[in-house]
């Protein structure tokens, strides 16, 4: 534990809570330990690792905090190894004792003085052996308790499995959009960074589509939010069906989607965009309820190819500018940056 003044501890604890909140992580003790250690500055390697992650815009999410905790708060030794070491020490001492006893009985013929010295030595060694014996007994008890605890835990394995499934669900929730089931914005950001890093290494093309539903406000206003939601779901599933392999489809905003296309040139990306546009404009319609003229719900699409070395925000901005151009020039079309 750290020996700080109460005030300093308090402000470090507050800072830790603030960090957990800022990064949107579960306020569990292990997460708190990591952030507390960071703000107290006592573990320079931990501080450096977190600073590196932050400076590279890597999220400090629950998984990363788990890794940090395992790396910097792992157990320093195991009880089992302590027990093994004391057993070895005892055995060595027993061997020494036997040798000295043997030497003493062999030397019986030599003299009383020598006898005295060696019996003093023997007494010391024997008391040390007794000490080691009790140490071994104590550590065996500790190991025994741990083993019994292990058995109890095994018997609760059903509960643990259920908890692990809940944790897995929570993690998946953190990366998928609730309404459509496709990737959410947070996951999109992660995939964008990963794929552009790989594209920078390989030199392969990497393209981005930004897709926005045309006149969506009018859809919501005319047919209600429930219908609006089904339109969003339909667009999402059509997008998912229009891509393949490593391509990533994400819900980027309210009525905006993004598609990341690795190993895809700008021309090929334009073709994918055109396929999406026609698939949607052909099939997407809203049933006639009122006298309002009903048309197909269409999308506008902006396309941009990653240029290695450009800031990711700039790449997205170029795709966004192309999308804006598509809107401005009449909607229901695909424009490249």
């Amino acid at each position: 534990m750290y020996s700080n003044g109460a005030e300093r501890v308090g402000s470090q604890a507050e800072a830790a809570m603030a960090s957990m909140q800022a990064h949107g992580v579960l306020p569990i003790p292990s997460n708190f330990s990591v952030w507390y250690a960071y703000h107290s500055g006592h573990n320079s390697d931990l501080t450096r690792a977190i600073d590196i992650l932050v400076s590279n815009r890597c999220p400090i999410d629950d998984r990363t905090l788990d890794d940090l905790h395992a790396k910097f708060f792992g157990p320093p030794f195991s009880e089992k190894s302590l027990c093994d070491k004391t057993i070895r020490a005892r055995d060595t001492l027993r061997t020494v004792l036997a040798l000295v006893e043997k030497a003493r009985t062999d030397a019986d013929g030599i003299g009383v003085a020598i006898n005295d010295i060696s019996s003093q030595f023997l007494a010391n060694v024997k008391s040390l052996a007794d000490l080691i014996d009790s140490l071994v007994e104590e550590t065996s008890r500790i190991v025994g308790r741990s083993e019994r605890l292990g058995l109890d835990l095994k018997q609760s394995s059903d509960k643990i499995d259920a908890l692990e499934r809940t944790l897995e669900d929570l993690r998946r929730e953190a990366t998928t959009d609730a309404l459509t089931g496709i990737a959410n914005r947070r996951y999109f950001d992660m995939v964008l960074q990963t794929m552009s890093g790989e594209a920078m290494n390989s030199g392969d093309d990497l393209s981005l589509l930004l897709i926005d539903i045309d006149h969506f406000k009018k859809v919501n206003d005319t047919w209600g939010h429930a219908t609006g939601d089904t339109v969003i779901q339909f667009v999402a599933s059509t997008l998912a069906q229009s891509v393949k392999g490593q391509d990533c489809v994400a819900r980027y905003g309210g009525e905006e989607f993004a598609v990341i296309l690795p190993a895809t040139s700008i021309d090929a990306a334009m073709r994918v965009g055109e396929n999406i546009r026609t698939a949607l404009s052909r099939r997407l319609y809203v049933p006639r309820h009122l006298d309002d003229a009903v048309g197909a719900v269409t999308v506008s699409i902006g396309v941009a190819c990653y240029e290695p070395g450009e800031p990711l925000a700039e790449w997205i901005q170029r795709a966004d500018a192309a999308l804006y151009e598509a809107k401005k020039t009449g909607r229901d079309r695909v424009i490249s940056a």
Binding site: D45, R48, A49, I52, L53, S55, N56, R57, C58, T64, D67, L68, K71, Q193, T194, S196, G197, E198, A199, M200, N201, S202, G203, P308, G309, E310, P311, L312, E314
Partner: protein, 121 residues
Amino acid sequence: MRTCLIVDDSRVVRSVARRFIEAMGFAVEEADDGQPAVSACDQRMPDVILLDWNMPVMTGIEFLRHLRAREEGKKPFVIMCTTEKDVDHIHEAITAGANEYIVKPFDQPTLSAKFGKLGPG
């Protein structure tokens, strides 16, 4: 003029990095693996090394350990530059002696910020 050695097996990375680093006023050398990087340092130890991790013959981390094992001579500022962004890799790089760490992809502002940790030339 300060010198920078770019160690990366990717031609694209080397060319982008060269552009950015020359713009910062450094003289740039390139190596496409850990082994030629060792030779380059033997010839003339650079002030800064931009170091990739995964390379076919000698990895960046192996090169770094080799570099830091040298007792004498200039101690270059090493910036690890890799797609690896997990805690294990970051910690391994720090303990092997990296001064800074960039997660790819990088851009001019990020690179400048990390080079800024060098101090004035």
